[in-house]
């Protein structure tokens, strides 16, 4: 028996070990990933993102309660940042989902971003695949929520829920940063705050003032601590899933998007660090008008 057979058969210990294998890389990871490819594409993948303090973990916990009542099993990937200096991390999200620990239909795994600049662990797409193969109906990814990761999560998840707390002004930043474009659902959490309605109104206005903004993005108000509105959120997500159910094409798409993000990031880092003579010379050529932008990009892509 190998790890992938075991985890597909429902062995949670094997799943836990396989996740570590893909996180750590190396030969075991390659073996796991090779076995995995034919067994994915059944899970609905839902991303939760938003600024720190918006109550994402608590909201996810309340949402899991709904999914469990509907008989759906849930895998959760909770991503927190790694320290850029030491590579260590304190991963605390699962503390706010502790009420599901006795439930065998829920599996929670904390991932450190491990230096991946986008704020989402580079192993995340593989962990999604593993949980998918392990038979979870729904895989939830919670990201760091500090800016770049929102865009990446949209690549991984079929549905991206962006969560805000009222009164912190974060939603205004988010509107500026283009978060609205990736959201499939917007949530105003901490709905018992007197500022919740105003925040929802802001989001609504921002959606409809956008140039060419004919995207209908539902806005749901929730209070995760009491469970108010979480039923609405669950219904909204279920509605979206019925329109576009999970498919075997999702996994390769996830991988492709992840590679795109990684490649872009990798190149950006090399460009900005400015220590590569080849890149330096391309830049000089462009500045001197000797090299066109399109050709420069082609050359840069080869270096990345």
């Amino acid at each position: 028996m190998n790890l992938v057979d075991d985890l597909t058969a429902g062995d949670r210990r094997a799943l836990a070990r396989a996740i570590s294998a893909v996180e750590d890389g190396g030969p075991e990871a390659a073996a796991v990933l090779a076995e995995l490819q034919s067994r994915v594409g059944k899970a609905a993948v839902i991303g939760f993102t938003g600024p720190p303090g918006a109550g994402k973990s608590t909201l996810i916990s309340a949402y899991i309660t709904h999914l469990r009542r509907a008989g759906r099993s849930v895998g959760v990937i909770a991503v927190d940042p790694s320290s850029p200096l030491t590579g260590g991390a304190v991963l605390g999200d699962r503390a706010r989902m502790a009420s599901h620990i006795d439930d065998d239909g829920v599996f929670i795994r904390s991932l450190a971003a491990r230096g991946h600049l986008g704020g989402l662990s580079a192993a995340a797409p593989f962990v999604v695949d593993l949980m998918d193969a392990a038979g979870f109906d729904v895989v939830i990814i919670e990201t760091v929520g500090t800016g770049q990761s929102e865009v990446e999560i949209a690549g991984l998840a079929g549905i991206t829920v962006v969560v805000f707390a009222p009164g912190l002004g974060d939603h205004l930043q988010a509107i500026k940063a283009g978060i609205m474009e990736i959201a499939t659902v917007l949530v105003v959490n901490k709905g018992d705050s007197p500022l919740a309605a105003a925040t929802a109104a802001h989001l609504y206005a921002a959606l409809h003032l956008n140039a060419g903004g004919h995207r209908e993005v539902p806005i749901v108000t929730t209070t995760a601590t009491t469970g108010d509105g979480v039923g609405d959120l669950a219904e909204t997500i279920a509605g979206l899933l019925s329109v576009r159910p999970p498919s075997p094409a999702d996994a390769p798409r996830r991988l492709r998007r992840m590679l795109a993000a990684l490649a872009a990031e990798n190149l950006k880092e090399k460009l900005l660090r400015g220590t590569n003579p080849e890149i330096d010379s391309i830049c000089d050529e462009v500045r001197g008008g000797r090299l066109g932008l399109a050709e420069a990009l082609r050359q840069l892509a080869r270096i990345a």
Binding site: A16, I19, D24, T86, G87, G88, V90, G92, R96, I101
Partner: protein, 134 residues
């Protein structure tokens, strides 16, 4: 990519004094550990199950108000039940004679109040590195 030490830290039972364990969490993070912190009021089974899901290399717990003997016994029993074999570290206000008893029960290291940060890191790393080499 590299292998990193992953450790689950938790408060068990009703004791809510978390200063020590939160400092240790930050300390270990600053020495490259991935710390999964479970917060307060965890049952023994919950700690073990979280450690299994996280594929943790170790479990760390701490007590201030005299619950250590009961709670450690419950934890060791839960680990046996769930077939989990990783080192357990225990810190906090623990009388020395109890510490010997805890080690007999299977606790790898006991940390008394006043243990300096570098010593905590060195002893935890020491146990884990020996385990990895073995």
């Amino acid at each position: 990519m590299t292998k990193r030490h992953r450790i689950v830290l938790a408060k068990m039972g009703l004791d809510c004094h978390d200063t020590g364990i939160v400092i240790v969490a930050q300390l270990l993070r600053d020495h490259g550990f991935e710390v999964i912190y479970l917060g307060l009021h965890n049952s023994a089974d919950a700690v073990v199950k979280a450690a299994l899901q996280e594929n943790a290399d170790a479990i760390g717990i701490s007590f201030l108000s005299g619950q250590h003997m009961t709670q450690v016994r419950l934890l060791i029993e839960a680990m046996a039940r769930q077939r989990m074999q990783v080192p357990v570290f225990c810190g906090g206000v623990v009388p020395r004679e109890d510490a010997a008893e805890l080690q007999k029960m299977g606790v790898a290291e006991v940390f008394f109040p006043g243990t300096l940060g570098p010593e905590v890191v060195a002893r935890v790393s020491g146990v884990l590195d020996r385990g990895r080499a073995a």
